[in-house]
Symmetry: C2
Subunit: 350 residues, 2 copies
């Protein structure tokens, strides 16, 4: 899922996402409730109509941003008092508020309101956060939803096996309240070697017949490793955010399109790519646009990266259908994995 934080996938128009083939994008409950605000969303009859996107939308719960972006004022069992990161407005969000906002946004998938502690974190704090996450999840299951809206629970627990287990089992005990399960609290500052164990500690409790969604992870080799462990869904800002810094994803690895070495390069961003950017423009031209700060530069790299991500997941699915996933996984690791000298957490390597 491309990320449309503020009711737009950065630099893209919705028809471009449709052309690439995306069926679902993400919207951020916290950001949207701050700007444009729910009064506007209500007036427009929901997020789909407001941003003119007729395909599916998943909204996060707002919990992650409230805890990471806003200035916290006070936490209670009902939720969190905080100040908006934009203008300091005092706001309150808890499970009831989050579900109400997501209902009004009219997303196709709503996420439970959770607490996602950053790493490092003591097990005692993580246990308390899991306790709140479960209590809030319970409240979420009692709230009304938009017509047809699905609801996903979120497994927290950080790097602690016992907490992951407690959280997953707690969600499962809520009698089929969840249409899918997300794995949160991964790639939140923990050492690289604890990222995949965090996934494993969560997945093993989750039913095979429901979608499993790994939140915020988008490195190709990590996606492969997560799929190997049973994950079905991802969202990540990487293809669009790194695009604005000139980073371009290709089957052969990624490169910085702003580098002076691209100055005279007449080839497309990726040889053989059929995306709208590669069909018409050269690396030399994209390099020029990025280096003088022209909007079209960010548009073209974002377009290519989203095309490359879609192509990557389609190729991964095909490899599974055709019994070639093990090979696909090895190849991806060879090009994008840590042994290829790639940073694990979205660093801007050349």
């Amino acid at each position: 899922m491309p990320v449309g934080t503020q009711a737009t996938v950065k630099a893209m128009a919705p028809w471009e996402l449709e052309e690439i083939g995306y069926q679902i994008i993400l919207g951020n409950t916290y950001h949207l409730s701050v700007r444009p605000g729910m009064e506007v969303i209500r007036k427009f009859g929901g997020l789909h109509r407001f941003e003119s996107w007729n395909r599916a939308i998943l909204t996060d719960s707002g919990g992650y941003q409230v805890f990471s972006l806003a200035k916290l004022r006070k936490m209670s069992s009902e939720g969190v008092w905080f100040q908006s990161h934009v203008d300091g407005t005092k706001m309150f969000m808890g499970p009831k508020e989050s579900m109400a906002i997501q209902r009004e946004l009219g997303s196709d998938i709503a996420m439970a309101f959770d607490e996602c502690p950053p790493c490092p974190c003591t097990e005692a704090y993580e246990a308390a956060a899991v306790g709140r996450t479960l209590a809030w999840a319970k409240v979420c299951t009692g709230e009304p939803r938009a017509p047809g809206q699905l609801r996903f629970g979120i497994v927290q627990g950080g790097t602690f096996s016992a907490q992951r287990e407690k959280c997953a089992k707690g969600l499962l005990a809520m009698n089929g309240a969840w249409d899918g399960y997300a794995i949160g609290g991964v790639s939140v500052g923990e050492p690289d070697e604890l990222i995949l164990p965090g996934v494993e500690l969560s997945v093993k409790w989750l039913p095979r017949e429901k979608p499993r969604y790994l939140m915020g992870v988008g490195q190709w080799w990590q996606m492969c490793e997560a799929v190997a462990r049973g994950v079905d869904m991802f969202d990540c800002v990487m293809p669009t955010r790194l695009a604005r810094h000139g980073m371009v994803f290709t089957k052969a690895g990624r490169f910085n399109a702003r580098a002076a070495a691209r100055r005279m390069d007449e080839g497309p961003l990726e040889e053989g790519c059929q995306c709208p950017a590669c069909r018409r423009f050269s690396r030399g031209y994209v390099r020029h646009l990025l280096s003088v700060g022209e909007i079209l530069g960010a548009r073209l790299t974002a377009t290519h990266n989203l095309w490359a991500y879609r192509d990557f997941t389609e190729r991964m699915k095909a490899s599974i259908r055709e019994g070639r996933f093990a090979e696909f996984r090895r190849e991806t690791a060879k090009v994008y994995g840590p042994e290829a000298g790639r940073p694990m957490n979205g660093g801007y390597g050349a």
Copy 2:
């Protein structure tokens, strides 16, 4: 002509300009020679291929930017030593250099290298500038051109009748060296009431059978008044530059799409408009995008404004063909002219 200063019309992709129907865009010789630089343009075989624009391109001479943007070092009869506004690189440009760059850019219309003094300016200085402009124009006529490239002379002379006459007659004396004539030095700081006289003082010397191009003027009512005086061509950054500030052009006047009053507005930017922005999005959504600084906001207002400008010139042409130009001119003045309280020089009125 939309302006593609740095090898792109800001915020737009070339296929969007094609869809709107533009047949010609402008490129800036000075900016392009600084970045990406002529080594890159040469490698790509010219500007059309570099920026992937297969329709016509007019390049300015670079004179205006050398005199207004760069730090001047020394002027001689051969041209100007200056320092690049980007990194201070010492460069030289005169008529030979300008024509050589435009030849390598491969534009369809090249402009003579001129000096365009800002207003206020004494008649003595203006006379000296006209002298240099004519001497440089003469040099330009002796330089080789790209295959099929047209060449336009530029009438300078500011607000001084005698200087305009001297410059126009000097160009005409160059024995049919020019495929068209431009009027420069208009809207360069002179009082509003001297803008149209500057046009009149120039047009009256220019042959009817050659295109007359008024440089840098793009207010709708001014375009109407200039057409009434015999002008055929225009370029202006207004539709794209004002778009980035949220200013939107409609048949009924212009408005600021960022204004809080648009927050809940479900209508399109312009009622009845068939542009890609109006076909799909609301004022409320565009207002949100602009107010949070999303790239799509600038894209949509630029798209609409370029559509509106194209529509405006097509309607003006139809009114001439159908003998309704006087009425069209009155209506345009009523909505966009000074009597409608509109600023004459691109101010950001609401």
